[in-house]
Structures are given as C-alpha cells and as structure tokens.
C-alpha cells in the first residue's frame, strides 16, 4: 500500500474519533444530577464554595466551549479529577490498565492456541466425529453467557476441586514489587518462580472465560477458510506432486487459510474489551473493566467518560490495524 493511501486512511479516522468524542461528551453532559453535588456529597460546603468549584470545573461555561475544553484536555490525557479517588482520572486508569491488557493478551493467546489447531483438524477431517464435536462446541461457545461460564468454572475448579483460586491477581505472600504492572513479567523479573506460577494460576480461569467466545469464533473461521484453501488448485497440484499430506496442509494451505483468522482475531480483540468488564467483575480482577463498573455505581462520571473514550479509541485503532494487516497479508486486496 502506498504511503499516500495510508495517510488517507489515517485521515478518515479523524471524523470517526471526533464523532465518538462528541457522543461521549454528550453522554455525560446529559446525565441527570449535578456533578458538583455528587463530588461534594453531603459535605457542609456553602454556596460560595460550590460556585467556586463549579467555575474550577468549567461547568459555568456554555456547552460548546465546554466540549472544546473537554476535547483539548482529552488530547493531552487530562480527564479531570476522579470524584472518588481525588486523583487525576488518567493516573487511576493507567494504574489499572496493565492488569486488563495482560488478561486480554493471555485470553487471546489461549483462544488462538485452542482454535487454530482445532479448526485445521476439523477441516482436514471434515464430517468426522471430531469435526462434529468441534462444530457443536463452537456453537455452544458463542451461545454461552460469559459471566455464567465463569461462575461454572469457579464452582468446579475453585469451590469443588480446590485446584485454582476464586479471585484476585496474586495470592498472599506472593506479591512482588510492581515495575511494569504486568504481573507475569514482574514476578519473573523479581526471580520469583513460585509467584509467577501463582499469578498464572490466578489468571487461568478468567483468561479461559474471556477467550471462550473468541476461540469458538476463530475455530469456525479457521475451519471455513481451511476448507476453502484445501479445495484450491495449488493444493491439488501440491498433492499431485507427491508432497506429504502434512506438508501440503501445513505449508501450503495453512499459510493462506490463516489470513482471515488473523484479521478476525485482531477485530475480536476489540470486542474482548467489552467482555472484560463482565469477566473482571466475576473474578474480582483488579483491571480497568471492574474500575469502570465500580465508577458507574459511585457516579464517578469523569472516570466513566475517560474510560469509554479510551475503549472506543482503542477499538477504532484495532479495527484500523486489522484492515492494514489484512492488506499486508493479502496482496490481492487493495485498501
């Protein structure tokens, strides 16, 4: 793709991101309830103090001016003070973000590790028992409510079998000094293998739950594209040349079949963001999703606003990357 075309695509993102920020701003501006009142709660502030806080927060300005101020601040990462934490919203979010990113990446890893081999085997052994089981499994996977699946896993592995912890990110006595915020990396950096394994045990159930729907989808995509690849002339040709089945499938068909899988995986990472809120709530995972849910109930609107904006921006950028990836992998498609 030419640099010019890339620049054009990037420019097209601007109106979308602008529209998103208008909606996020409007969402919070239209929310009933006075932010000053919520922030001060029942404290005995007099009218003058209330007015001064209102001025400080820019709430006395006209709506349009408030929007541009919000936009300018958002671009510099300034989302104001969290009502609840009395600290900049961005600080609170950045503190929780690594836990969410780590969980999402591990979930994605598990989903791909399960889905791709299953999808390939299901396609190669089409209509076999294994293919049927995989197809039924993927149907169950997309139909399963994530929060309930998580609870079932807790019931089985934590409550009944006592194999894995119920919630949290790391057990007592295993804590290490956080440097990167990614617990798997930090425990290794501290040289604590026991802590690393404990963190891994904590992560297993939430990551499997989060990755379930994605692996079901990826399995279907891989199976379909593999079936299509296997029916192509170059595969017949490779077989006619006398190449082994493993080589034909692994080297020739798989390379092409994986293009849609990679693209769907990139797009689906965005939808994992929504799943995060639920799964983090089920497993008491100290990430951004749970923070947002808590913020909604404590009416901590600046935090909700910032988080929704960050989620949406990430989602748009991920979709853009998925598009790019698709073009790079598939030279036939012009972006």
């Amino acid at each position: 793709m030419s640099p010019l075309r890339l620049a054009e695509r990037l420019l097209q993102l601007i109106p979308v991101l602008l529209g998103i920020s208008v909606i996020v701003f409007a969402m919070m501006a239209l929310t009933p309830g006075d932010p000053v009142q919520i922030m001060l709660g029942d404290s005995l502030a007099d009218q003058a103090q209330r007015d001064s806080l209102r001025r400080d927060m820019g709430l006395d300005l006209p709506v349009v001016e408030r929007f541009f101020r919000f936009l300018g601040n958002a671009l510099t990462g300034n989302f104001g003070l969290s009502f609840f934490h009395r600290r900049p919203v961005m600080d609170v979010i950045l503190e929780r973000l690594p836990a969410t990113i780590e969980l999402t990446l591990v979930a994605m890893f598990i989903a791909i590790a399960v889905a791709v081999p299953l999808g390939v085997i299901a396609a190669v052994r089409r209509n076999s028992l294994l293919d049927r089981i995989a197809t039924i499994g993927s149907m169950l996977g997309v139909s399963m409510p994530g929060f309930w699946f998580g609870i079932l896993l807790i019931l089985l592995f934590a409550v009944n079998l006592h194999l894995l912890p119920v919630s949290g990110r790391i057990g007592f006595g295993h804590e290490v000094k956080m440097v990167t915020g990614f617990v798997l990396i930090d425990t290794l950096m501290a040289g604590r293998l026991d802590s690393f394994l404990d963190a891994l045990r904590h992560m297993l159930l939430p990551a499997v739950t989060l990755g379930l729907a994605m692996s079901a989808l990826l399995m279907r995509v891989t199976r379909t594209s593999m079936l299509e690849a296997l029916s192509q002339d170059y595969v017949t040709f490779a077989e006619a040349k006398g190449l082994s089945r493993v080589r034909v499938v692994g080297r020739h068909a798989l390379k092409n079949a994986l293009i849609p899988t990679v693209t769907v995986a990139a797009i689906e990472t965005g939808s994992l963001l929504g799943g995060n809120m639920i799964i983090e709530t089920v497993f008491g995972w100290p990430g951004l999703g749970r923070l947002v849910v808590e913020a909604i109930f404590s009416r901590n609107y600046p935090l909700v606003q910032a988080a929704v904006l960050i989620y949406a921006t990430t989602y748009v950028l991920l979709n853009f990357l998925a598009d790019l990836l698709y073009t790079v992998l598939n030279p036939k498609v012009r972006l």
């Binding site: 996020v24 929060f147 609870i151």
Partner: protein
C-alpha cells in the same frame, strides 16, 4: 400505483414460490426445526408465566432461605429448583425472567430492524448526501465496542426496562442498516426497478413495494441472529446490576443473585444461566437454519 402492481403479477407469484421453497428447505432441516420449537416453547412460557409458575416469584420467605432443589436433602415439592437468599422460588423467578429476556430481545430487534431498514433503504436508494450522513453516523457508532456503549448509556439514563431497550437499540440499527443499504444498492440497478421507474412509480413506492420485499431474506436472517446476541447483552447488563431493577426477575440478575452463595447454594446461579444458554443456543441453531434456507450466499 395500481398500474405498477398490475404490471408485475408474474414477478409476485414467482417471489412467493421462492419464499415457500425457502420455507420447505428450512423445514427439511430437522435440527433447525427442533431449535425453532424450543424458541416457541420459551415464548409460550413467557406468555403464560403467571399460569406456569408454581409459586409467587416475588414472595420472600426467610424460612426457605437458600433451600435446595426438590430432589436434594432439605428440598421441598413445589419449590423444584430451590430458593434464593430471600427464600423466593428459583423456578418461578426463572419463568418470569423469560418474559424480560424475550420482551427485550424482540423489542430491540424489531425497533432496530425497522429503523435500520428504513435508513438503509433511504441511503441505498437516494445515495448522495443522505447516504453520506447515514454512513458517517454508522461509522461513528461502530467505533464503540457494543457492551461499553450500552453500559455508558445505562450509566447515563439509569437502569430500567425502557432504558435498556433504548441503550441496546442505539447501536443495533447499524447492522440491518448496512445490510439493507448494500442490498438496495444492488437492487436499484435491477430490471424490475428500472421497469417500475419507467412506469412512473414514485421513489417511495419503489423503495417500499419493489425493493423491500426483494431484500427481506437477509434482513430476517440478520434479525434472528442478532436476537441471540441481544439476549446475552441484556443478561450481561442485568448481571452487572445495570439492567432491569429488583424485584423484577431477569435471568442475568438471577445469576448475579447467586454469586455470593456459590459455596452453599450452587442452584441459585446455575439454573438461570442454563436457561440463557438454552434459549440463545436454540436461537442460534434456528437462525443458522434460516440463513441456509433463505440466504445461501451468506452460509459458508
């Protein structure tokens, strides 16, 4: 208008026979028919909930707090699936919860399909500035991850049945809109549309009477597929406490109710979740059958 209708009788009868052929294909798929029957059963449960529920779903009885299902020790006939932390009958609450899930699913999908189809027809047929504005709005709404958008709206509007329907509709119409727009763009170049135009039919007539009936199959297929998603989304919102408010029973909030008692009372969370899975699975299987029968292009 009547002259246009009279001019195309052949096309109409052909269209009907295609539709009945599609229906035959669908009925031949036993799995899909079974799934459709399950969906229908859930609808009947929702409609006749007051007749079917063995107990009053709102009646609390602390003596029956976390009482196990009937077949377990300490269980009681009439309280078949046990009781929750307030001593309310789980089965009766699930039966009433069916109403919430199905009502929200149907309302959201219906509203979104009507709005999306109308806007998609306008965008695809009129093109130009109308198309551009609608496409931009779609792009922006698609920029929000689904659940996060709904959660943001629920935070703003506050919980409640009407609000949850609105929060899910705000983005949902984009999908049928895109499908209808693409189909309309293709249809407007077809001969039958050209013929209607030559006969002097109005733009409104062409959109409504000529194009719409011909693009309905993908719309129906998309609508049924989305129903499954909406039901899970509603359950998720209710699970987080952002959906229908207590004491009204929703499957999602029933699962959430049982979360605190997993150690002593697994049944409170397990059965309502099973109901969600059963209904969503049935809708997914039935809509896959519909898709294969009505819109083979989509099935891969």
């Amino acid at each position: 208008m009547s002259s246009v209708d009279a001019a195309l009788p052949a096309a109409r009868s052909q269209e009907e026979s295609i539709l009945s052929g599609n229906l035959r294909d669908f009925l031949a798929n036993r799995m899909s028919v079974a799934a459709a029957v399950v969906c229908l059963a859930f609808c009947l449960i929702a409609i006749f909930a007051p007749l079917l529920a063995p107990q009053n779903p709102y009646e609390t009885d602390l003596l029956r707090r976390l009482q196990p299902p009937a077949w377990m020790e300490g269980g009681e006939r009439g309280f078949w699936l046990g009781c929750d932390a307030l001593g309310r009958d789980v089965l009766s609450r699930m039966i009433y919860g069916t109403r919430v899930s199905i009502m929200i699913g149907v309302a959201v999908v219906l509203l979104a399909t009507v709005i999306g189809t109308t806007l998609g027809l306008l965008a695809g047929y009129l093109r130009g500035p109308v198309d551009m504005v609608i496409a931009r709005v779609c792009d922006i709404l698609l920029g929000f991850p689904y659940l996060i958008f709904a959660i943001g709206l629920m935070a703003m509007m506050g919980p409640g049945l009407q609000n949850i329907i609105l929060a899910l509709c705000y983005k949902e119409w984009v999908l049928p809109c895109r499908v209808v727009r693409a189909e309309t763009l293709a249809a407007r170049e077809q001969d039958y549309v050209e013929a209607a135009r030559a006969l002097g039919a109005s733009r409104w007539h062409i959109m409504r009477r000529e194009i719409l009936p011909n693009i309905l199959s993908p719309v129906i297929v998309v609508a049924t597929f989305r129903m499954a998603y909406i039901i899970i989304a509603e359950a998720s919102l209710s699970f987080l406490g952002l959906g229908v408010q207590p004491p009204t029973a929703s499957w999602g909030s029933l699962v959430a109710d049982g979360r605190a008692f997993l150690l002593d009372a697994w049944w409170v969370s397990t059965f309502p979740g099973l109901a969600i899975l059963a209904l969503v699975l049935a809708i997914n299987v039935a809509s896959q059958g519909l898709r294969d029968a009505f819109d083979p292009r989509l099935s891969r």
